[in-house]
Symmetry: C2
Subunit: 422 residues, 2 copies
């Protein structure tokens, strides 16, 4: 297991990367950004666990992987959101695409991993780099396991999945998708769980965010958009307005960029991909400022931080305030779920608004070893520091002074702070 | 090996079935046809080799196989001939498609296998039924082999492939595609050979007609059209003209149907799929009557019967007679090839006209057991007996009286008769 390459298919990534990258390629080809790995798990020093040479070897190997003709044909044929979804120009870009260079440094017990370059290229590092670091972490902390201990670990995983399955079957109204790629401990285990979901929970399992597994196991590739769209747009707004505009206008440009991103997204993908992620600068800002069309026309919302019960209540009020029946809209919950949380949320909103779940780490990486809370986030766009506040200030991204500035711009009130488990 | 299902993917068929079926679905949805298995190998009684129950079991299992979502997405994304190539209407038809019923009877030591029904449905039986019969034949004649004898058979296959490979490498100008699906002895062996072609002869191997293998191993799916298009069109012409027209007009309608098929094909697929198969009623008829545009606009011709050297010479003359430089056109040879024949044909036409090879039985089924010359051919279209004459009268299909009538209609001169080896 130790030497097996981890990243061997360019489709072994989350589906949402493709609709996002298409907009980045089409509208923002010259925008340069910087991404940085952040380990939110306290007490775990990746630098002391993963040997630098081993990490380099896997990152270098990933840079050699290209899209195959069959993979491009599959992407061209994906019809579930809109059809055709990808332009020939974008597919041609993918055809010759390789992951760009990376920056890796081990310094003072810290593992520093960054990606700097064109947005539409560096964006494709997020998931492969996360899966490589996650799996090397898991391989290294289990490297002294005997054969029996490994078997026991996976037996524990089966037992835990069985418990989840039994509970979910008791609630046939609960539907969910696999969002586990980025923090999987072992690629093979993740695949096994996805296949079990398909076979054991076929009526409740909607699909997987992993495009390679979706293609291989005939599942719906699931995904919409991520915070990077909002974060980079703010940087672009600042860059544009630095030339001559004063700081009040600049703040206004940053404020406006949030809803401009949503409008641009709708123009590209329409109803098919219309699940709005609204917590980048705190969902209260979004609910207070989003145009009515997001309530009336879009499919729904994604909840990715803070208190899901609060969010759901607020969303229902927001829909009603726009004269929309919440029962016709959906919330996709995707923040640090486990089966108890899923059932609780489901019970809280059953019959009030449609709901579904994007279930990540605790679904695909629950085998008894401590999962990491690992992210790779945009830190710069057009030379401007980027910021994510979210509904949980412990999840905030950005330089402290930028975070303070953005809190003012978006009138952010700090209400919720909880360390991320994963 | 004995009980393993043979047909498990609706893409485990030849690519040309899809462009043909699309036309059948779009323009000829109500045309009913009949197909019949014909074993051209003398001295082999399939009825005595393949148990009826075993054959039924595999045919019944095949009827349960449906296109997966990933397979439909792949087909939608195939861009190599035209883009988009398949309409959403046709893809929707495939989505709910299952193989229709079959007629199987064991009578007087004869295995009778027929498919009767809508053309666009029964057409999809040809390749699955051939692969099932071929593999059951191979499984049954090797069923008493010891484990060692099976190993020896496949070792012989490796040795034979090695000899082919060495000869082809000496002629780097020779390019070829795998057309071996229909007469493969073992599915797994065929796949192995296709992968070896990709790995060992990558610059000379253009792809495979097997769509499942093309998707799985990232190869170009290869194929254009088959005799069934011409044969059914003649039946349709007769049917239409029976109402009121005398026999002279009917003969004229049959004569016209050949070039009408080519024109219809061009209208659907244009340059991308413009390799004309011209031997249905003998290539002399085709060369004498095809409109100039087939010479000027189409990519080239496919040679599938008779003497390939004669055909090539005639084709070159035909191109020149239309003022076309033959060096810009291609002939795809696909009739009973082996490596010696391939090299001979290549040497004969090198520098005179482009050539390539569609290599079937002797490529994918050369392991020391006698391959069958097995076909499933259209025998009726719209209640009218169909006819194929070809450039080798031993390959003719049809009732004797119909063959005689068609010989007159197309002024066919019997010049060449050679039993089919495969």
């Amino acid at each position: 297991m130790r030497d097996e390459p981890i990243f061997i298919s360019q489709l072994d990534t989350d589906f949402y990367k493709f609709p996002m990258a298409q907009i980045q390629f089409k509208d923002f080809r010259n925008v340069r950004v910087r991404w940085k790995l952040k380990n939110r798990t306290k007490g775990v020093s990746l630098a002391n666990i993963i040997p630098e040479l081993e990490l380099r070897e896997h990152l270098d190997k990933a840079r050699k992987v290209q899209f195959t003709g069959s993979e491009i044909r599959y992407l061209r044929g994906v019809e579930v959101y809109s059809n055709p979804m990808f332009s020939e120009g974008f597919l041609g870009f993918l055809k010759s695409f390789r992951l760009p260079d990376y920056w890796l440094e081990y310094r003072d017990n810290e593992l520093i991993l960054e990606f700097e370059g064109p947005w539409c290229e560096t964006t494709f590092w997020e998931i492969p780099a996360l899966t490589i670091v996650s799996e090397l972490y898991a391989r290294n902390i289990t490297k002294h396991y005997s054969r029996f201990e490994k078997e026991r670990m996976f037996a524990e995983g089966i037992k835990r999945f069985a418990a989840k399955k039994d509970i979910l079957r008791l609630h046939p109204g609960i539907t969910f998708s696999d969002f586990g790629t980025r923090r999987r401990a072992f690629k093979s285990w993740h695949e096994k769980i996805v296949v079990f979901c398909k076979e054991e929970l076929s009526k409740q399992f909607l699909g997987t965010s992993n495009v390679h597994l979706a293609m291989k196991h005939d599942l719906v590739p699931i995904g919409t958009s991520a915070h990077e769209m909002f974060m980079a747009m703010a940087g672009i707004a600042v860059f544009k307005n630095k030339m001559g505009l004063g700081s009040k206008e600049q703040n206004q440009a940053i404020r406006n960029s949030h809803n401009e991103m949503l409008e641009n997204w709708w123009e590209h993908y329409g109803w098919g991909l219309s699940i709005a992620l609204v917590d980048t600068y705190g969902s209260p800002f979004a609910f207070a400022t989003m145009p009515k069309s997001i309530a009336t026309d879009w499919k729904g919302l994604r909840q990715d931080s803070g208190n899901p019960f609060e969010f759901g209540k607020r969303a229902i009020e927001w829909y009603k305030s726009h004269g929309v029946d919440p029962k016709e809209k959906i919330i996709v919950f995707s923040d640090g779920l486990d089966v108890v949380k899923i059932v609780d949320i489901y019970r809280a909103f059953e019959g009030k608004i449609k709901i579904s779940f994007g279930w990540g780490t605790n679904l695909g990486n629950d085998i008894g070893i401590k999962p990491l809370s690992l992210v790779i986030k945009l830190v710069e766009s057009y030379g401007q520091g980027t910021v994510k506040l979210s509904d949980n200030i412990a999840k905030a991204i950005g330089k402290p002074e930028d975070i303070e500035q953005f809190k003012k711009i978006f009138r952010y009130e700090e209400k919720y702070k909880e360390e991320c488990v994963y």
